[in-house]
């Protein structure tokens, strides 16, 4: 269980005035992120919510060093981010498993890429597979698994080399509602046990409140941070929390922030639930 009062003084990841621009078609400049300042503390679970195309994924890609900021900089532990590193684990909306590899071999794939001895991680991998409820599926091929099971394998793959930071780009968006809730709880448990810092991009306000220590609300393009809302709900959390008045309070707060950013009084668009 994490204590919000005891946040480490030096943030793990900091964004200082980060702007990202792309050259779109016809040479038009598209601003994905504009003047973003954000600090993410160690062991914190931060969710980023906002309408489609608000640069949420761009934020994650910056931390993964898959793209560079046009202006401003991103620091990790006070040092500027220069190249990708194995301190970061990544998860996408799709499981992106290699279809020619078994579950175990998929989980061990990052270990091969960072040139660590496979044998040293095999026990960890098997334990992780067991932890996410896929015990006995080590030798199964991705095709034989359901979407939810595949995404569980992806969680194991992101955790196997024990990166302190996890980046998750709408990892449960493609799953049905039941599996989605179940996996969210699962993820919370696994990451809390292992002291992970998680940056979690989602469309779902409910999901963001349930999982996070803090919810970062972003505006539509160009993406700006319009609010940061700390979620002071006791951990460990369960799905029952969703029906409590406190939870509803947070939800309406976030919804109204997004609506205000859109310049309308109605609740947010249908993609935000």
């Amino acid at each position: 269980m994490r204590d919000l009062q005891e946040e480490s003084p030096v943030p793990l990841i900091t964004f200082n005035g980060v702007t990202v621009q792309f050259r779109g078609r016809h040479g038009m400049v598209v601003t994905a992120l504009e003047q973003v300042d954000l600090a993410i503390n160690e062991k914190e679970f931060v969710s980023i919510v906002g309408p489609s195309g608000c640069g949420k994924s761009t934020l994650l890609r910056l931390i993964a060093c898959l793209i560079r900021p046009t202006a401003g900089d991103v620091h990790i532990k006070g040092r500027p981010l220069r190249e990708p590193s194995s301190r970061i684990g990544i998860m996408f909306q799709q499981p992106v498993l290699l279809p020619w590899r078994s579950v175990l071999d998929n989980v061990l794939f990052p270990v091969e890429l960072i040139h660590q001895p496979r044998a040293a991680f095999e026990t960890t991998a098997r334990e992780l597979i067991q932890t996410v409820g896929l015990g006995g599926f080590d030798r199964a091929m991705p095709r034989e698994l359901s979407g939810g099971m595949q995404q569980r394998v992806a969680i194991c793959r992101a955790l196997v080399y024990d990166p302190p930071v996890l980046l998750m780009d709408e990892p449960f968006a493609a799953l049905d509602a039941l599996t989605r809730d179940e996996l969210g709880i699962e993820l919370m448990r696994v990451t809390a046990q292992r002291d992970k810092t998680v940056v979690f991009v989602t469309h779902s306000i409910t999901e963001s409140i349930l999982l996070s220590d803090r919810v970062v609300v972003m505006s539509a393009r160009p993406g700006r941070i319009i609010d940061e809302i700390p979620i002071r709900l006791a951990r460990p959390r369960s799905l029952d929390l969703v029906s409590t008045p406190e939870f509803g309070c947070y939800a309406s707060q976030i919804r109204s922030r997004i609506a205000a950013a859109h310049g309308r009084l109605t609740t947010a668009g249908p993609e935000l639930t």
């Binding site: 990708p84 590193s85 992106v96 279809p99 091929m141």
Partner: protein, 267 residues
């Protein structure tokens, strides 16, 4: 139940169709409605081939070697070129227009020229077969390498993976089913290439046998050589189907995996 009876069960209809066709063909010829030098009976064709079995085997072997050589050469040239096109912008800009122009030339029309350059021996036949088989290989291999999902590459990239590892462990396995399906088309084309080259100028090979026998109106031998050629094509084609099962079983199971998937989603 043995595998052969199982196979027969699964293929009852095509086998029956073929047997029926041959029976009708044989009967029509026996009634004498058709002149034997126009359409010989299947039994006559079999006898004609059997009588010349040593000679026919020799010509079959020549064509077999040409096809195998041409096909292999096409892979050896095509796959590296596809890799180059995928990885280098410059290579793509240089090779693409050349490939496009070259592609629009009927390869069959190049055969006389290639024979002129390389002589009437086996090397010119191999080269024509290679040129004919080359394009589907390049195009399929490139398509496979390029279509690697971006997220798969990002996953590796976020871990600072070496380019060579990404190529070997992500791109190549991903492209393998594409390459194999390119090979299926290519091997059929290289049979055509070899036979065309033999038509243009040769004194060996099944193409030569067909040309030679038809000039003397020895129709049973023409048909016999044709049968051997199609058997040759089938041999190559099914070898690649076997290779596919061996190299990318995960891809082959794609269509058969649905039952397992249902079982998986229930747990």
């Amino acid at each position: 139940m043995t595998t052969s009876t199982l196979w027969l069960r699964a293929n009852v209809i095509p086998v029956t169709v073929f047997v029926a066709l041959f029976v009708i063909w044989e009967l029509v010829c026996r009634t004498g409605v058709v002149q034997p030098w126009l359409l010989p009976a299947p039994s006559n064709i079999a006898i004609a081939v059997w009588d010349r079995r040593v000679l026919m085997s020799f010509h079959l072997l020549v064509t077999f070697t040409e096809v195998l050589g041409g096909f292999s050469l096409a892979i050896l040239l095509g796959v590296p070129i596809a890799i180059l096109i995928t990885y280098s912008d410059l290579a793509r800009k240089i090779t693409y227009p050349v490939l496009l122009v070259f592609q629009s030339v009927p390869k069959v029309a190049l055969a006389p020229l290639i024979l002129l350059w390389l002589g009437y021996g086996m090397s010119s036949k191999i080269f024509v077969a290679a040129v004919t088989a080359f394009f589907p290989l390049v195009i399929n291999t490139t398509a496979g390498l390029v279509s690697t999902p971006a997220e798969m590459l990002e996953l590796a990239c976020a871990l600072k993976a070496r380019q060579f590892d990404v190529f070997l462990k992500v791109r190549m396995p991903w492209a393998l089913p594409y390459i194999v399906s390119g090979m299926k088309v290519a091997v059929t084309l290289s049979v055509i290439g070899a036979v065309v080259a033999e038509f243009v100028g040769s004194d060996t090979g099944l193409g030569f046998v067909i040309l030679n026998a038809s000039s003397t109106m020895n129709t049973p031998v023409v048909f016999g050589a044709m049968v051997l050629l199609s058997l040759l094509g089938m041999l190559f084609f099914y070898s690649i189907v076997g290779l596919e099962k061996l190299l990318c079983p995960w891809y082959m199971k794609a269509e058969q995996g649905s039952a397992l998937q249902i079982a998986g989603s229930m747990s």
